[in-house]
Amino acid sequence: MSASHRLAAAPASRSTRAGTHLWVAQRVTAMILAIAVVVHLVTILIAVRGGLSAAEILARTQGNGAWFAFYVVFALAAGLHGAIGLRGIAAEWLGWRGRGFDLAWLAIGLVTGLFGIRAAYGLFA
């Protein structure tokens, strides 16, 4: 068996696989955010005209299932995307690498996303 065949047949290490999964998650969330951030920026530009008020924001979001669903997806994607991005920077600048750090960043991403969903629920309920 040639060296290249041995290399191809060798199972990917846990760390490599986790890295691949996180890379895919980073790109998928980036694609979701590409649309969500455009919607968010347009909403911001419209909403700030004439000043922001709580009544105006709540009139748009309270009881509106479509906005709530949008913000649930947005918050989760943003939380995960941010945490995976920080993981890359921490690995490069601080040398924080390995499965333990990967799991910690994933947990931070999910908790941040859930924190955002909680806020979105506050605007919806």
Binding site: R27, V48, L58, R118
Partner: protein, 115 residues
């Protein structure tokens, strides 16, 4: 390992730095943003109280910077996705310039609407 031969003054290196720094700042800002929005859980008055705090010129200036960072990260991210998934390797300098233009135009629009 061979050092990267591309000069650090190249527009794509500047774009990489902008994408990284904007991403870092936005990721750190995100929990604060969610906390601010969660004021609504405590009621309309709590959210209104927070929004009136944001009326100051300093906060509006910081909001404008955040909008520019978000637009820059979005436009720069679209350039990276196009490079990775569509293989758009040509006209990189143009795409970097377009990203910067989108970021500043969005910031300017925000400033014109918010002031």
């Amino acid at each position: 390992m061979r050092p990267d031969p591309r000069p650090r003054t190249h527009p794509t290196y500047v774009a990489f730095l902008v994408h990284r720094i904007s991403g870092l700042l936005l990721a750190l800002f995100l929990p604060l943003h969610f906390w601010a929005l969660s004021r609504a859980i405590a009621g309309e008055d709590a959210l209104e109280g927070f929004l009136r705090w944001t009326d100051s010129g300093t906060v509006k200036a910081m909001e404008t910077i955040l909008v520019v960072l978000l637009a820059a990260h979005l436009a720069g991210g679209l350039r990276v996705l196009a490079l990775e998934f569509l293989g758009w390797r040509s006209a990189q300098k143009t795409m970097v310039a377009a990203s910067a233009g989108i970021a500043f135009a969005t910031g300017l629009l925000f400033l014109l609407n918010v002031v």
